[in-house]
């Protein structure tokens, strides 16, 4: 597998005070979502206020980072082709992401996926998703390690 499919594409976002906690968490392989204590709903992308009830009583919650592919496309204009997708987290919200560490031709709607946190060269880790089978995750981690050792060469 090509290393390009494992690393997020630049540019990497700068950290803002409103979302600093999100990016701190991705650096330790954790996905945070915003939860509203007023209406008990999760929203993405994370905001200081709740876009459903406008309360500012929101807090960060750790998501298991599991869900299914809601929709996707394979970007055929690039070599190798790459997958951009909406993943519906088990919390019920859809977020934009890349599906990595697998053959783009095997990706399908409703496929179970799990969050991974590819290391960026500079800036925060940007979460992506891999198919949620144990072998696939293992293969992905091996590829990442290979990529890191390759970078050190």
């Amino acid at each position: 597998m090509d290393v390009q499919t494992l690393t997020p594409l630049t540019p990497v976002p700068p950290v803002s005070p409103e979302t600093e906690a999100f990016w701190d968490a991705t650096a330790t392989d954790r996905l945070l979502v915003k939860f509203c204590n007023s209406c008990n709903k999760v929203h993405v992308y994370p905001r200081a206020h709740c876009p459903f009830c406008f309360s500012v009583d929101t807090e960060w919650r750790e998501s298991p980072g599991e869900g299914e592919i809601y929709s996707y496309t394979v970007i055929r204009r690039e070599t190798p082709p790459r997958v951009v997708a909406y993943v519906r987290l088990d919390e019920g919200v859809i977020l934009l992401t890349n599906i990595v560490g697998c053959d783009p031709n095997g990706v399908h709607i409703d496929q179970r996926v799990k969050a991974v946190f590819p290391r960026a060269e500079d800036g925060p880790c940007v979460p992506a998703f891999v198919p949620a089978s144990p072998t696939q995750e293992l293969a992905y981690r091996r590829e990442c390690q290979g990529a890191e050792s390759h970078e050190k060469d």
């Binding site: 997020p8 594409l9 803002s16 055929r76 951009v84 859809i94």
Partner: protein
Amino acid sequence: MGSVAQSVYIAGIYEHPTRKAVDKSLGQLYFEIAQGAVADAGLSLSDVDAFYCDTDAPGFGPLSIIEYLGIEVRHYDSTDVGGSAPMVHLSHAAQAIATGKCNVALVTMAGKPRTGGRGLDTQPNWAVPELAFELPYAHGVVDQYAMSAMRHMYEFDTTAEQLAWIKVAASHHAQHNPHAMLRDVVTVEQVLGSVMIADPLHRLDCCVVSDGGGAFVVVSQEIARQLKRPRVRLRGAGEAIRDLRGGTADITSSGAVVSGATAFAEAGLKPSDIKYASLYDSFTITVLIQLEDLGFCKRGQGGAFVSDGKLISGVGKLPINTDGGGLCSNHPGNRGGMTKILEAVRQLREEAHPAVQVRNCDLALAHGTGGWLASRHGSATVILERV
């Protein structure tokens, strides 16, 4: 509100014939479309007292281009909702005329994406709140529309063949348009055989990239009565914004659900009253979803509605985009809203090409989807009537 819209008319239209403006500045294109539209109305630029443009107009809002043209206005609006901006501008101009803010509103749109009249921003504006959570995934406009198409296929068994019929219909119309970029009639097989850009959208599911533009003139009833042109009245208008709504959105429908219902209610009409429709066709899926959202067919049945030539003038039940649309004729400035309104006016005036002119075309609809179908976009609908 109904009376506001119904007292306002489109008196003049002009579409720039260029598709590749090598030898003209963007400012020149604006002058030529402005001049063309007021001349078509039987007016002059000195009669214009209101000006509308989107942010493709070079300069700060409308300031630079108003100065360049040399016009003097007392009302203006540079709301930018991409390709739906001209429909929004028409509606806003109508409100301004109805409330006495102006009498002759010039709505413009021009762009040069083919020959590079406008540079792209190289630095992302990270103050845009969603950008940090989207830009790193590096995808383009076509990928957004592709994701809507993919989900639509999943939920409703819509097929690539059905989407291809939308392009086939456009090509049947474009063969009669001497200015169209793509004039060859294509088949479903040719669409499906073209290179895959972003699953499930092929190259021929995508609109062209062209230079050019167009303009129209909106006037009060008093002025319309003094002019010798056929009278086209704005009967109803609606606008809406659709976005991801905190992650709860349905990407198989658009803001047309709201903008269409608003326009039909204001017009006192229903979809079956419409004889011709100009529907935004950045990609084939855009057309299909709009047909459902505007109520021309039920949700999920767009695939059957567009198949077997049902959108071809003289053949099908609902002729659309008889100029060839963005899929074949042009998509100036990567925005197709202006040309949608212009062809609707041509149909109502019986000035469309004879081969595609809809008979007894007294009611037409034009709809724009500006932005990204699967995330955030502006939707705007106008219903026009020949009186």
